[in-house]
Symmetry: C2
Subunit: 585 residues, 2 copies
């Protein structure tokens, strides 16, 4: 019984926090949810526009995911819904297959969310969260910068009223330049001030309010209300001056009511075309969400279960799909609002869903005159924070190969599009990684007099004993470097004809795979052929457990030493002592 309830509790974290839920927490979470709902409205509408979908779809994608995450999620602050990267990836995945503006387009977006959700849940059940590791920092950072630039460029179309073809960054730029004569000044007269206003609010309002004596949390939340204010003002402006007749694009009739529950169209060809984007969206959504969740959880020393997060995000995406939405993830800015407003349990998210439902039911007529320009400006300001060229420079100082991988990810994403660029970036990261591990640091070590420490003879004053060479390899022995090790040993032996004993210090060897073992065998055989004894020292416990099962161990048995000191002093104790004494004098 206990076991079952443990499993239940791990898959339904709601059982855990639900028990401690009090009326005080309820009031708190309700207040939080009102603030967050208001803030989410513009975001939801804007990201639907970015994904090429009607605005109400943004609202739909913001209800079921919040409810489902509240049941399955382990973070108490994460807010799940449409975010910039996944919205752009939805556009990139669906628009080459189905014409935008058709019901089929929305169906394909639902299918994409369903696939994303299924992949996330499978990864969660199989505990394959480790796959997300291959989205390295250079790739994620490079992707963010490229996506930020591309989205911001794309939003010049609604903000300035210039028609454009869409597609990759390059094709957008060309199209914008060609069509710049068709700018709609009324649209620009709304879009540009809205953009500047939102930028100033985002950058400075929180500081100003804090300096004026407001609490940091409240100031932060108020500064995030900028988009709501911009929406209200521009709606009044457009309706008051009749700008919709002057070519200013407005949202128009947003169907009111809740989404109906329906399955996405099942079309094998469509699903197989969406499989790769769905996998990438799943991994990106997971990486983004888990990092936000852990950052916020650590502030209150709360625990996040990475595999359960996969399940929760999967459920959220399936929920989005069934309610007519598109792929969702845990967003940084929306989660921060949740956290700063003081959300204590995932229930705050559920109440937020109710808040958005109320908007969808009763307030959509108010959105009729909302100009697309305002939504575009909202998106532009939001994504500019993703652009981070400084990261390339900072990374260059620390690791050139990583900086190159980052720069290439940016360039390829901008030229080939977000999906091809992402795949190329991952490939480049992998090759760079394997290149680095193929040439590990290798050092000849000697004893630091007066200690039992052995250090690099090129960096420290050390003692060595004639006839004995001690080599430390600073890497696990696996196939990327197996041959390098053989070559290094061969070179050292060829250069030092007086060697009789060769000791390999394994203190930095964390794993040995079959290729590494073959190399050790080959080295042992070759040294033997050359009349040299092969020793190992400081082999780690887990490796010894495996090594003991091999023939290599049987051959080397007596020559595997617990410490390097033992290894050196067991070969010729007298010579060792004499050498050390001599060095001391």
């Amino acid at each position: 019984m206990n076991k079952i309830s443990g499993v239940l509790r791990s898959y339904f974290p709601i059982i855990e926090w639900g028990k401690e839920y009090s009326s005080k927490t309820l009031v708190n979470d309700l207040v939080v949810s009102i603030i967050v709902s208001i803030m989410l409205i513009p975001q939801s509408l804007a990201y639907a526009q970015l994904a090429g979908l009607p605005p109400e779809v943004g609202l739909y994608a913001s209800m079921a995911p919040l409810l489902l995450y509240a049941i399955f999620g382990t973070s108490r602050s994460l807010s799940v819904g449409p975010v910039a990267v996944t919205s752009l990836m939805t556009l990139a995945a669906v628009s080459p297959i189905v014409a935008q503006g058709t019901p089929e387009y929305q169906g394909a977006a639902m299918a994409l969310a369903m696939l994303t959700g299924l992949i996330l849940i499978i990864l969660g059940f199989l505990k394959l969260g480790f796959l997300s590791n291959f989205m390295s920092f250079p790739v994620m950072s490079g992707l963010g910068t490229a996506v930020g630039i591309q989205i911001a460029t794309g939003q010049l179309t609604p903000v300035l009223g210039i028609p454009s073809k869409g597609g990759t960054f390059l094709s957008q730029i060309i199209s914008l330049v060609q069509n710049c004569g068709q700018i709609n000044i009324y649209t620009a007269a709304i879009g540009v001030p809205a953009f500047i206003f939102l930028l100033l609010v985002r950058k400075n309002l929180a500081n100003l309010l804090t300096r004026a004596g407001m609490g940091k949390g409240t100031a932060g939340i108020l500064s995030k209300m900028g988009p709501v204010f911009a929406i209200v003002i521009t709606i009044l402006f457009v309706s008051g001056f009749g700008l919709a007749d002057k070519g200013v694009k407005i949202v128009g009739t947003v169907p009111s009511g809740l989404p109906s529950i329906s399955l996405p169209p099942f079309d094998f060809k469509l699903w197989s075309q969406l499989a790769t984007p769905a996998l990438l969206i799943a991994i990106i959504a997971y990486v983004a969400s888990i990092s936000v969740a852990q950052t916020l959880a650590s502030k209150k020393r709360q625990h996040i279960d990475p595999n359960q997060e996969l399940v929760a995000l999967g459920a959220a995406n399936i929920g989005a799909s069934l309610s007519g939405g598109f792929p969702v993830a845990g967003g940084f800015s929306r989660s921060i609002v949740n956290f700063e407003a003081g959300a204590e349990t995932p229930a705050a998210g559920a109440y937020t869903a109710v808040g958005i439902a109320l908007v969808a039911l009763f307030l959509t007529p108010l959105l009729y005159f909302l100009p697309s320009a305002t939504l575009g400006a909202t998106i532009m300001v939001a994504v500019l924070s993703l652009v981070n060229f400084k990261a390339v420079k900072q990374t260059w100082a620390f690791s050139r190969t990583d900086a190159i991988a980052m720069a290439l990810t940016i360039i390829l994403t901008l030229t080939l599009g977000v999906i091809a660029g992402l795949i190329a970036g991952i490939g480049i990261s992998l090759v760079m990684h394997l290149y680095r591990t193929s040439r590990p640091h290798v050092a000849i070590v000697g004893q630091i007099p007066g200690t039992q420490h052995f250090r690099n003879i090129e960096r420290h004053e050390v003692v060595t004993i004639s006839g004995i060479v001690s080599m430390r390899v600073d890497e696990s022995l696996y196939f990327p470097n197996a041959r390098f090790l053989e070559n290094s040993v061969s070179e050292i032996v060829a250069k030092n004809p007086e060697i009789r004993h060769f000791i390999l210090n394994c203190s930095a060897v964390n794993t040995i795979d079959a290729s590494g073992l073959e190399s050790l065998k080959a080295i042992n055989q070759r040294l033997k052929d050359g009349g040299i004894a092969f020793h190992l020292s400081e082999v780690k416990g887990p490796i010894m457990d495996h090594l003991k099962k091999t023939q290599f161990y049987q051959e080397l048995k007596g020559r595997i030493h617990f410490t390097h000191y033992d290894a050196v002093y067991s070969i010729d104790p007298d010579l060792a002592k004499k050498t050390l004494e001599k060095a001391r004098n």
Copy 2:
């Protein structure tokens, strides 16, 4: 001047050993070359048949490569020419593109050799030999087993006279079973005894001769003469009994004379189709050759220069191409003969080339009645030594993931063919490797009383100080495990509410990439948010050099300690001492 002569010497090792060349060495090398030439004739003819080429092409491919390797190679024993794996890969690469038996087929084989040679030389000049590391032991071993099975099966056609379609192992088996009624008994009457004879000679003759008092080297060489003996006997047999008229396939007219020097056809489409196989052949040829060369060199403590070997093998392949041949590599059995016969310099290889040229000029009429069955039996016996199922079992005991990679390489090579199987094998090896490195071994460590050693608290009797947690991660910090580290730290912190100091022991950390650095930053920030100080200990020199350039280092400066002991004892020296004393009592 000295620098130029150094560069010259490194690209032309012949300058080095040429200086010491004496008349005594000359006589020795000449004797060796006679033995080796005789042994190479059947091999050359047989591998040409395997590659789907006329027999004289095998002779052509055995001259220029030997001469060129003598000039550029650094091994004194390696013998370069047609070998089993590259011959099969030639067949697999060319036969889907060009019809076998046409001049275009030979032209494509020449183009493949040219491409292989160019790739090898480029890899050599760019010092990219490390790429060969990705041919891991499981892949190489699995490939050997699969290739051995496939070639042996394919040779049932000439040995038994059963017509077959060729292709992958599966299609061959089906074809052989369907056509088994068409067996030619005269052919089988030659092929089967030849096979049994060669098998017995290979397995037992050397032992018998040694027991009879013969020197081990001479016995080894004589036992490798079996194929020559089989050829002579079966030629006499076929011509004596007029078996060629009974459906026994014979070699027929072999054009005598030396190959003309000509360029392979340049056809962009053809070359681009051959590019991937050429890359794979280049890497396989290199891996096979370097391992033979190093094994033999170590017996005499000679030095092999891996990058120069790439250049030498590249020159050998270009030579093969220009003289009408097909891809070549350093062969194990032929090199062993060279070594055991006592070759002292690469000149022995050059003399061997002359010996084969003499055969091509004057002895080809003698090969007219040579039955294909004998060549088939020669190949079958040679490739059976590649088959090694025991390796799967032995590897299973040491590393399950590697054993799985090996088994999958065997299965995929047999079902998909040698090229697709090889690519799949490399991919599987990579994913397995990344999977392993994504979950490093992590241990909480404590002090072993009376020492300055810190070891795993689960494996040793150790002392820990309240409020301080020391964690050792047994792996470099790079993107495959960056998130794992963050999760591990979060879990430990969530489980130990009393932590005030967290020390990460980096003694096993060999590199940190940009993703690892980001993780460290995130961990530092999260610990700080939770009121915990983050320390590092035993960071290696090369890592510190890079770390010093980062902002992370500035933030942590005072909390990076040379030894773990320092780290623990600098935090609260009194408490540390008291804890240790208490543990001692």
